[in-house]
Subunit: 245 residues, 2 copies
């Protein structure tokens, strides 16, 4: 039995998220389907994190086991050939030790959230960024966001249905920068609560749009009450960038 | 009679290029169709440059005339509402003088060509970049490209069907840089020959892939013979960035 680590890029638009669900087109199921004709075996792809419907990935990581030994490069090429018609690309496959776990061995996960901040609707960035018409001050957003860095109770940014035992997480870093009409929010932590990034982005946009002061954000954060924080940012602006092990 | 300057972004994928053609879906026709219900007049959109099918624009510019005076912001909002279902966005509309011509008043046009340089097929960048598997040396490409800067006969990079009177053009600048798997080629000139950018990119990729030396590129350039230069890069990697007036 050999364990493999696989790194994947996908456009989340046409999929019902990462996780296999009967009757829905998901990324996990597409990957498992693409490996079947080569391995002639039903394998389970264990992802480092489940992404919601519409969320993209630049470097999602998963692991899977095969009884037989396969050449990693051949596996990758064959899987990409089987995935030719869907926006999923296998970036790399490598053999790894039997105790590697894409989810539990992770040291740091990075997400990027992309906002198109201008009057006009998106054309190039349809399904690729959150369109916000009101002018956002990215410097205010960056400054306020620094209060979230560190080990804290993130209940205010935790969605219903979160399966994490504790609402306490350590946010390693968060940065907000603008490039012309685009605002990029990059966030890193060992692990995140369910929809934590999208919920943080929603609240930061209240600060950026001058509807909240930095103090309002701190108060909502300390309240540990989800209903006092901002809206959940839509999925299509979110990119799972990668995982450090 | 008032003249208006309009700036437009579009994803070229679903269109048969800029120029109106009977029986085909084109950007010019969509824009003219979007202004009709507001202006109640048939207007012609004169583009600063025709883009081929599949070519994108971040800042295409056109001009048009209306007998009546319209509020520019209202025009923009109404046009974007009419364009809701297509990947065309009106970024701005402003009144301009009657002697402004989007094509002939242009001082400099900028294009960007995007290459995805990696083994795996694109997922996020489908229809947005040229996928080249062979590793390209962007420094060699940049160095060789500098020989094209200045006033030269660009016959080697001129496509059949070019309506320019002369093959002599002045290339203001060309730069090639890499960001991870992406290579960006940015080119600026007052005007270009038909498919000049895509033809230059095709030849530069021969240099980047070590199939041509810098000297080979210079020889192909000096030959003024299109058949001695490289292939035409595909349209979907090309972005019309903007025009200076």
């Amino acid at each position: 039995m050999s364990r493999y680590k696989i790194t994947i890029e996908y456009d989340g638009t046409p999929f019902h998220g990462w996780q296999r669900q009967d009757g829905f087109d998901t990324i996990q199921q597409r990957l498992e389907g693409a490996i079947f004709p080569i391995a002639q075996a039903r394998v389970t792809m264990y992802g480092s994190g489940r992404t919601d419907a519409g969320v993209h990935a630049l470097g999602q990581v998963a692991h899977f086991d095969l009884a037989e030994d396969f050449d990693c490069f051949r596996l990758q090429e064959c899987m990409n050939a089987h995935l030719a018609d869907v926006p999923i690309a296998v970036l790399s496959i490598e053999k790894t030790s039997g105790d590697f776990d894409s989810r539990f061995s992770a040291l740091e996960r990075t997400y990027l959230y992309k906002i198109l901040n201008r009057r006009s609707k998106p054309a190039i960035d349809i399904n690729r960024a959150w369109h916000i018409v009101q002018n956002l001050d990215e410097n205010k957003m960056h400054s306020a966001a620094q209060h979230l860095v560190g080990n804290h109770d993130f209940s205010s940014f935790r969605a219903a249905g979160c399966q994490s035992k504790s609402p306490v997480k350590t946010l390693n870093s968060i940065s907000i920068r603008r490039c012309a009409d685009l605002i990029f929010i990059e966030v890193a932590a060992r692990s995140f609560l369910y929809r934590q990034v999208r919920n943080i982005v929603g609240s930061l946009c209240l600060v950026g749009g001058n509807r909240w002061t930095e103090q309002n954000l701190i108060e909502a954060f300390l309240s540990k009450d989800r209903t006092l924080a901002g809206q959940t940012a839509p999925p299509y602006g979110l990119y799972f960038v990668g995982v450090k092990y």
